[in-house]
Amino acid sequence: MIGGALWGAAILPGLVTLPAHATRSPVTHRVVMEQFAFSPTVLHIRAGDSVEWLNRDLVPHTATHSDQRWQTEPLNRGEQVTITFETPGTETYGCRFHTAMQAQIIVDGP
């Protein structure tokens, strides 16, 4: 989808003007909780994209914003949950149960 939109823009420069947001569909990115760490530790996404957390550890983890503006329910092994981010900015978060687990999502404009 993204590739197709870019191809079209390359063929007809200046002839087709599309709103920026029309050139890209929202994407779901995956963050894995494994070995008591988030992977990737820093994730760049676009506003409107979603992040899916998957826990592969034996024990429950959460993804909890540093100011607790948002958080997931505790995820047991094999469970996953998705959150959509609409606003640009840096989201620093960690596991509520294991505070050494820290990561960031950097949300760019659409």
Partner: protein, 175 residues
């Protein structure tokens, strides 16, 4: 009670039986029993701390122990069920149970900072000893691949707990 004496007290039961067990080469079912027992005993310590302590860091740690050791033990039970195997009681498990009962009696008589420090230092010593046993004795000797894998995952969890316990002890300024 300082850290050294707590470690010594917590370690007596293990040190008295570990060499003999290592020489006897505990079988997989005995190893599974002892690993499960160690987790269950730590959950009991945690419930005691939650009942008696008002300290936030102690309560947070105890809640983590209940949650994490419960998850590890649930995984162990599920694995044993899938293998159609039953864990086998043994001298090391029995020593752990006896030592933990004595420690719970001691903790039950304490309050305030004395309780918090005794719980925290015991958790640090307990995890150090259990982690050493799992890493040096259990994982090398266990033969079933699924159990070995579970023990490796569990050890990673317990090492995080050990680090958490170190921070708890330092934060409590137990001296």
């Amino acid at each position: 009670m300082n850290l050294k004496s707590t470690l010594l007290a917590a370690g007596i039961a293990l040190l008295m039986v570990t060499p003999a067990c290592a020489a006897d080469k505990m079988n997989d079912l005995e190893i599974a029993h002892t690993a499960y027992t160690a987790g269950a005993l730590d959950i009991r310590y945690a419930h005691l701390a939650l009942a008696l302590s008002d300290n936030d860091s102690v309560r947070e740690f105890a809640e983590t122990m209940v949650r994490d050791h419960g998850a590890v033990n649930d995984a162990a039970l599920a694995l044993l069920a899938s293998l159609k195997a039953s864990p086998q009681d043994n001298p090391l498990s029995q020593a752990l149970v006896k030592g933990a009962a004595e420690k719970r009696t001691e903790l039950s008589g304490l309050r305030g900072k004395a309780l918090n420090c005794a719980y925290a230092t015991n958790e640090l010593g307990y995890h150090q000893l259990v982690n050493k046993t799992v890493e040096k004795d259990f994982i090398p000797n266990v033969t079933v691949p699924e159990l070995k894998s579970l023990l490796k995952d569990a050890l990673a969890t317990f090492k995080v707990h050990q680090g958490h316990a170190e921070h708890m002890v330092m934060g409590l300024k137990c001296g």
